[in-house]
């Protein structure tokens, strides 16, 4: 009888041990918050970002968490509205006591959170591109961001144009925060590259036809068109550009980086040039490129799980989450130390968006070199030399 009892005890012990092996649950979870525009006007950003965060959380926890602590990412939908982003941030900070927040997806929402994060003394790693999010850097002590500056994408385009001898450019932008930020950067940078903007056209996010704007641009004698938008608008512009046979090259923003756009635009997409992060062209990178392995793993994992492409935007969330995770791994659950770590120790750090070099002077850590100039050829991307 006695023997039986001991055996039983042993059995339960062994059983529970084997159950717990592989995933250590004993330690308290590390909570980080995430605010993405899962619905609303910017849902094209929020959707892949949310998926990425979920995927990373599962992968990290499966691999044993962060130093044995499971990672918990609490995701909130900001509905692409500043007021909702404010509510979401307050909920995460006060109800969930998160250690840091990643997101939001758009510049406006990120800007609305700046005062909240500064007063809560908690790090925000934004997934939006606007220059003002991390500048002036003294007033953005707790704020970082992972997407490349719009400015860098513009510089990459202008650089390419300069090489091609293009001097007169017509721009067409969507009348949302994304298009507006691009428009401002396009106008500001042009003189530095000896480029004149001869037309400055706009369209709404749900517009069906941009032939008028393109015709007008052509009539000004522009030597190239730059479209700055995301969503269906960039496909419609591409189709109109193709139908009109404008005879001048069409450049798109870094928002063009999804195979879906080529599918939707069909043969009209041939010849479209855009500055893209390396995520969409990882298979065309040389094997020794520091980003290649990571990009490959991220894209294949994502595709397998969500049956779609993560696109550039999902990558922003990847970088943001991984930065916070790395900081947590090194310094533990200390809000101030997390911030200091990201500011000072993210150096030569390969992410999906580029190779990051954060510093007290630069809370983005990327420049023009984060982009490759890519052209659509035979329904696929091709890196331009």
């Amino acid at each position: 009888m006695k023997e039986g009892k001991v055996f039983k005890l042993f059995l339960t012990l062994a059983l529970s041990l084997s159950l717990f092996a592989g995933k250590v649950i004993a330690k308290e979870p590390y909570k980080i918050g995430a605010i993405f525009s899962v619905t609303g006007a910017a849902s094209f950003l929020g959707e892949p970002e949310k998926n990425t965060a979920i995927m990373l959380m599962d992968q990290i926890n499966k691999a044993g968490g962060i130093n044995g602590h499971p990672l918990e990412i609490i995701i909130e939908d900001s509905k692409s509205q500043e007021s909702d982003a404010v509510l979401a941030a307050k909920k995460l900070l006060e109800k969930d006591n998160v250690l840091a927040i990643v997101g939001p997806s758009t510049t406006g929402e990120s800007m609305a959170l700046v005062p909240i994060m500064n007063s809560a003394k908690t790090t925000l790693v934004s997934c939006a591109a606007g220059y003002g999010i991390t500048n002036p850097v003294e007033e953005r002590y707790w704020i970082f961001k992972t997407p490349q500056y719009d400015l860098s994408a513009v510089q990459a385009i202008y650089n390419h144009m300069k090489k091609k001898g293009i001097k007169k450019v017509g721009i067409i932008t969507i009348s949302t925060g994304f298009g507006d930020a691009g428009r401002k950067a396009l106008l500001d940078e042009a003189p530095k590259f000896g480029i004149t903007i001869v037309a400055d056209e706009r369209y709404g996010p749900k517009d069906s036809d941009m032939t008028t704007q393109l015709t007008k641009i052509k009539a000004t004698g522009a030597e190239a068109v730059i479209n700055w938008s995301v969503g269906p608008g960039q496909v419609v512009v591409t189709k109109n550009w193709h139908d009109l046979k404008l005879g001048i090259p069409l450049y798109q923003s870094h928002g063009w980086g999804s195979k879906k756009n080529i599918e939707l635009a069909g043969k009209a997409a041939e010849g479209v040039i855009a500055p893209l992060g390396r995520l969409v062209v990882w298979d065309k990178l040389p094997d020794n490129h520091p980003q290649k392995a990571l990009l490959k793993k991220y894209e294949t994992d994502y595709k397998e799980r969500f049956k779609s492409e993560p696109g550039t935007f999902g990558g922003h969330a990847y970088d943001a989450v991984m930065m916070v995770v790395e900081a947590l791994k090194k310094v533990g659950p200390d809000k101030a130390k997390i911030r200091d770590y990201i500011e000072n120790n993210i150096k030569n750090w390969p992410g999906t968006g580029g190779i990051f070099n954060m510093s007290p002077k630069d809370h983005c850590g990327l420049d023009m070199t984060a982009f490759e100039m890519v052209v659509v050829k035979n329904g696929d991307w091709e890196i331009l030399k």
């Binding site: 619905t39 032939t211 008028t212 009539a219 269906p232 496909v235 419609v236 779609s308």
Partner: protein, 295 residues
């Protein structure tokens, strides 16, 4: 210079044809009930997305896909009427309009759940290069949309003026009590109007998707433009809605072409307001539409 103007006009017609088709859908329900169905835009979206589902995802032949899409969306319109409009029969007009807003949110929720947030596209009805008229370009699909819009007006006109059932339907809007007294089944007429209007929306969606692409949340934007078109032409007047659509479309592209593209929506609306100031019932509207029923 003339080529440029012509191109602006042709683009105006392209955009206008979309507004016209959407505007047309408002009129059928309006003619039977005086309700403005603010879920009309969602019928259009469903048309495009369900057409994509049948023709691209299920690989069902083109014509069969169209028929199936129209039937499915028509059925959805019918169900909507039975579940939400019919129970409210004798209530405030405003309440009925608000419920169409609520239903449109339900539709968007369902569409997002089924189709996600990406835009969808399928090939135009006829393959081939766009037509070139004096150097200006017009997509073949636009001609299809025009053809479809005009055929729809013809059919609707015939239906409301030449068939018993159509005449009975318009009688319901003018005076439901009198219609009931002469033995018209008002409830059935209203159901039919939702069925027809959903079909019209679906046809619009099927036709415009190859031009503008379609995504789950395009409905409100389409509805607003279509509503403005219907109002400009005069509510209840099918031809008016189509002309209203073209006028708004051309106004937008001319503003974009000669003033500034950022202000195109605003200028079109200012002109709409000005027209309403002088003609409170729209360009071709009947004064009687002003006094039908009040909120």
């Amino acid at each position: 210079m003339l080529t440029v103007l012509l191109q602006f006009l042709l683009s105006g017609i392209t955009v206008g044809s979309i507004y016209a088709l959407v505007g047309l859908g408002f009129n059928i329900i309006y003619n039977a009930t005086s309700i403005i169905n603010l879920a009309q835009g969602e019928f259009v979206v469903m048309g495009g997305l369900i057409m994509w589902f049948f023709s691209q995802s299920m690989q069902i032949p083109f014509f069969l896909s169209i028929v199936l899409t129209i039937l499915v969306v028509g059925l959805i319109g019918l169900i909507m009427e039975r579940l939400t409009i019919n129970p409210l029969k004798n209530s405030d007009l405003l309440l009925m309009i608000m419920i169409t807003v609520a239903v449109s949110i339900v539709f968007r929720g369902l569409l997002m759940y089924k189709f996600g947030k990406d835009p969808y596209n399928y090939p135009p009805f006829s393959e081939g290069e766009p037509f070139i008229i004096f150097g200006a370009v017009i997509q073949q699909q636009v001609l299809w949309v025009l053809f479809i819009a005009l055929s729809c007006i013809g059919l609707i006109f015939f239906f409301f003026n030449r068939t018993m059932i159509g005449k009975a339907m318009s009688a319901c809007a003018v005076n439901p009590t009198a219609a009931k007294l002469v033995g018209i089944n008002v409830s059935r007429m209203i159901m039919l109007s939702f069925f027809l209007s959903a079909i019209l929306g679906a046809i619009g969606g099927i036709a415009i998707t190859p031009i503008s692409l379609m995504e789950y949340d395009k409905g409100p934007a389409l509805a607003v433009k279509g509503f403005c078109a219907a109002i400009m032409g005069g509510l209840g007047n099918g031809m008016g809605a189509v002309l209203g659509g073209f006028i708004i479309g051309v106004l937008e592209t001319l503003t974009a072409g000669y003033i500034h593209s950022g202000f195109k929506d605003a200028v079109a609306l200012v002109i709409l307001l000005t027209i309403l100031f002088f003609k409170p019932a729209g360009l071709f509207g009947n004064k009687s539409t002003l006094t039908v029923r009040k909120f």
